[in-house]
């Protein structure tokens, strides 16, 4: 075969057109299967669309946009925008009108302090209240005048509270049993403060407790 002359552009395009005719056709069985599947899917989509209450528009011969009513049409978009603006404005007005309540409601962070009630003794239930830290507790003592006397009290019910008998230690000092409920039952009331008797004339100043009696020294003969 003799070498041919180079092809020009027109000949190339003509060959391309001829090549077009050589392409095999779509096999009919494959095409039929694809067509059936295509039409079936179209039916399903149409059923879905009608099932949604006919929300889809696009009919009416205006180009078939297929826009959803209320979402794709211009009046629908405007209506949605108007509703949205109205709702936001109403919320803002309500927030402004009730701004005080909103402010107070948000600051309710008070701590709930539980009151602790302690029973100091089984005799007289007392309510322990917290003393404010600004108040300095002032200690007061009841003056003990004279020699402590041993008084034994039987358990006596006073106002429903039992009184435990006082005791005295071996060295003669009274044991400070914390039974002072403020009643001072059975005790001699203290005498008023007298200047020169150990309280420096200040009736509010507690007297010094008397020293216990010293044992008598044997006299030198």
């Amino acid at each position: 075969m003799s070498p041919r002359k180079p092809l020009n552009t027109k000949e190339i395009t003509e060959l391309l057109s001829k090549l077009k005719a050589e392409t095999p056709d779509y096999p009919s069985e494959l095409m039929a299967a694809k067509k059936a599947a295509f039409l079936k899917q179209a039916v399903n989509i149409k059923i879905d669309q009608t099932g949604q209450g006919g929300q889809h528009g696009g009919s009416g011969g205006s180009g078939g946009s297929g826009a959803v009513l209320g979402g794709g049409t211009v009046p629908g978009v405007l209506l949605q925008a108007l509703i949205g603006i109205t709702v936001v404005t109403a919320l803002l007005l309500a927030a402004y009108a009730y701004r005080d309540q909103l402010g107070n409601g948000s600051g309710d962070n008070s701590v709930v302090v539980q009151e602790v009630v302690a029973i100091s003794s089984p005799l007289a239930p007392e309510t322990v209240t917290t003393i404010p830290s600004s108040i300095t507790p002032e200690l007061t003592a009841s003056p003990i005048i004279g020699t402590p006397t041993l008084s034994v009290l039987d358990e006596t019910s006073i106002n429903g509270a039992s009184v435990v008998e006082e005791s005295q230690s071996d060295n003669g000092t009274p044991n400070a049993i914390n039974t002072d409920n403020g009643l001072h039952l059975g005790q001699t009331p203290g005498t008023p403060a007298v200047p020169g008797q150990g309280n420096s004339g200040n009736p509010n100043k507690p007297d010094k407790p008397d020293k216990p009696d010293k044992p008598d020294k044997p006299k030198k003969k």
């Binding site: 041919r4 190339i12 050589e22 056709d25 694809k34 039409l39 179209a42 039916v43 989509i45 149409k46």
Partner: protein, 182 residues
């Protein structure tokens, strides 16, 4: 033109007759277009089905074709081909020259023309880029205009012209080499 508009409206309205008519008319053309791009018949069948499925999905979304249904369907096919070629290296199962010889040997074609067509098909597959092949096939085998081709491949008309000219020049040079002209 009026028929095209009426057909589009019927398609968008999911009219069964219109859809069947569109499938009968364009499915074989798309199948052939895919074969001309060097895609195997099995894959071409799959992509052809996908093109029409995509059409229904777009109609459902309200984004169906507005005009020129044929261009729209070829454009969809083109995008599917590009997507697939990006995903994996395409194994060409179709030798177009073999197709020419085995499947349909035109009685009218002369033996010399047959030889030329075989060469041309092989050169297209071997020498042209994917974009050049697409433009050449769309322009000279599917008979789309420059504007339509530009819309399908998503380029402007000048770019399509450049791709077309480079493709034709490559084919011409390669054919000349094969024929021993140079």
């Amino acid at each position: 033109m009026k028929d095209e508009s009426a057909l589009l409206n019927a398609v968008v309205s999911l009219d069964q007759d219109a859809l069947a008519s569109v499938f009968d008319e364009y499915a074989p053309a798309i199948f052939k277009y895919l074969l001309r791009l060097g895609i195997g018949s099995q894959e071409a069948d799959q992509i052809t089905g996908d093109v029409f499925v995509r059409l229904l999905e777009k109609i459902k979304e309200g984004k169906g074709p507005q005009k020129n249904l044929r261009s729209y369907l070829f454009q969809t096919a083109y995008h599917l081909v590009v997507d697939q070629s990006r995903e994996r290296q395409r194994i060409t199962t179709l030798d177009m020259a073999d197709t020419v010889v085995q499947d349909s040997q035109p009685v009218s074609a002369m033996a010399e023309d047959k030889l030329l067509l075989e060469k041309l098909a092989k050169i297209m597959e071997r020498e042209l880029t994917e974009e050049q092949t697409n433009v050449i096939v769309l322009r000279f085998q599917e008979d789309f205009s420059l504007k339509e081709t530009a819309e399908i491949v998503g380029k402007n008309i000048n770019a399509v012209k450049a791709l077309q000219n480079r493709g034709i020049n490559k084919l011409r040079d390669a054919m000349s080499r094969e024929n021993g002209g140079e």
